[in-house]
Amino acid sequence: MKVVVDMNKCQDHGQCVFAAPDVFRMDDDGHLAYVPDPDDALRDEVEEAADVCPLQAIRIED
């Protein structure tokens, strides 16, 4: 699975981190960091992360 975050849209709300902590995290400066090619077993939580992003900045490319 390929995950793309539009960093121009991202405002560091961090909702994705709650939904998919294995894929998304906030770095020490409070900015989003993420795994661009997570295991397919994490699809459900990545989809939830994409759903809850207030800026709708997360895209899943199969």
Binding site: K9, H13, Q15, V17, F18, P54, Q56
Partner: protein, 399 residues
């Protein structure tokens, strides 16, 4: 279940319901019906980035999941009535559609002030078309803006108007402080000060009696008789649930459609409600049914309701979302987790200084933390997030 599932409402709740029905295994017909002409789009930017001209309108559209590619969208179409016993809905073109399952996702509309005076020049902010029309007016040079209602949307619009360079921005509300209902005195006082420092004027403790002007509003007449000059008025005085189409079915439609703890409507296994039209009991708190207008609720409730509607709910615990919301105003953000409104009698500063910089506030009920709200920048929001796990672990509140 035979036939098709009809989703009434084509905003975030309707979209998520359609997607989650597919995710829950529903492979039958699926029709989403909405009265706006647009595909579902994101509303929070309407009072901020869209008004400010920072978000192109095209950037608001949600991208439906591939699993929902075969959903039938009936846009620009209003449902005028439903007969739940016969499993039909009637559309505004007079046609009748039968369903096997129904999702109520018709949302809310802005409440309007019922005062004498002209209508032209008075705006609300709920739809894309609303925001476009308001932006055209707010960007006129020297514009004087009066915002009626000091809640979140009113304060966001006021902040945006100041940022756009409006000549005067005044917020009017009968309550003594902005956002005091959901946030309580402590933060409301801080927010009042921070808004005033950034150029918003507040006239609090009095209501609106009338609008001045002939063809178009030129001022706002307050209850004490004074008149505020205004080129543009924004009404942000709460919302009304769109439930009229459900009348005549014996449902409790007092402030939204009442649901049970699994979002079922009227005790019917084939009707559920999602989003801010649903008045649901939250098993996490006191069990009192409430409508919740947070952005997270349509997604959370659709996930739950879809499982219930397709019968994939064996062992499913009652709906118990952790409420969360944010609000961007000027250069600061409010970030909330939990239910601050249930802890207004015991508000404590958890971190920071209310008089300057970031501040983190905790709300308690019976000595139990029920909500946290951060005001400020990234660090404050991260501080609130640290309490989120605690809030999730709390035992349910007893009524």
């Amino acid at each position: 279940m035979d036939a098709r599932i009809v989703v009434a409402g084509a905003s975030l709740g309707g979209l998520r319901a359609a997607e989650q029905l597919r995710a829950a295994g529903w492979t039958g017909g699926l029709t989403v019906i909405g009265d706006e002409p647009h595909m579902p789009y994101n509303r929070p930017p309407l009072s901020k980035e869209v008004l400010a001209g920072r978000a192109p309108l095209a950037s608001l559209a949600f991208t439906p999941k591939a699993s929902a590619a075969d959903v039938e969208w009936r846009l620009g179409t209003r449902i005028v009535a439903a007969r739940l016993a016969e499993r039909t809905v009637e559309l505004d073109d007079g046609s009748v559609m039968s369903y096997g399952g129904l999702v109520v996702a018709t949302g809310t509309r802005p409440r309007r002030l019922r005062c004498p005076g002209p209508l032209a020049g008075r705006h609300t902010v709920r739809t894309l078309d609303d925001a476009r029309a308001l932006r055209d007016e707010l960007t006129r040079p020297g514009v004087r803006v009066v915002v009626v209602g000091a809640g979140f949307i009113g304060c966001e619009v006021a902040a945006t108007a100041v940022g756009l360079g409006a000549a005067e921005v005044t917020v009017v509300d009968p309550l003594p402080l902005p956002m005091v209902g959901p946030l309580g005195d402590l933060l409301a006082l801080v927010l009042l000060k921070r808004h005033e420092e950034r150029g918003v004027r507040f006239l609090l403790g009095g209501g609106v009696a009338a609008f001045a002007g002939d063809d178009r509003v030129t001022g706002v007449v307050l209850n004490d008789g004074t008149t505020l000059s205004a080129d543009v008025v924004v009404e942000s005085v709460g919302s009304l649930a769109n439930t009229e189409w459900l009348e005549g079915n014996g449902l409790d439609l007092t402030d939204g459609v009442l649901t049970d703890e699994h979002l079922r409507v009227g005790g019917r296994p084939n009707v559920v409600a999602v989003g801010d039209v649903a008045r649901f009991p939250n098993a996490r708190y006191d069990g009192v049914p409430r409508r919740v207008e947070h952005w997270s609720i349509p997604t959370d409730s659709a996930r739950h309701a879809a499982k219930v509607l397709v019968g994939a709910d064996a062992g499913l615990a009652p709906f118990a979302p952790l409420p969360t919301f944010w609000s961007d105003q000027h250069d600061f953000r409010l970030q909330s987790f939990g239910a601050p409104a249930l802890g207004l009698d015991d508000i404590r500063v958890l971190d920071g200084d209310p008089d300057a910089g970031d501040v983190l506030v905790g709300y308690h009920c019976h000595e139990q933390l029920v909500g946290v709200v951060a005001l400020g920048g990234q660090a404050a929001a991260r501080g609130a997030a640290r309490y989120r796990a605690d809030l999730l672990k709390q035992p349910a509140l007893t009524a």
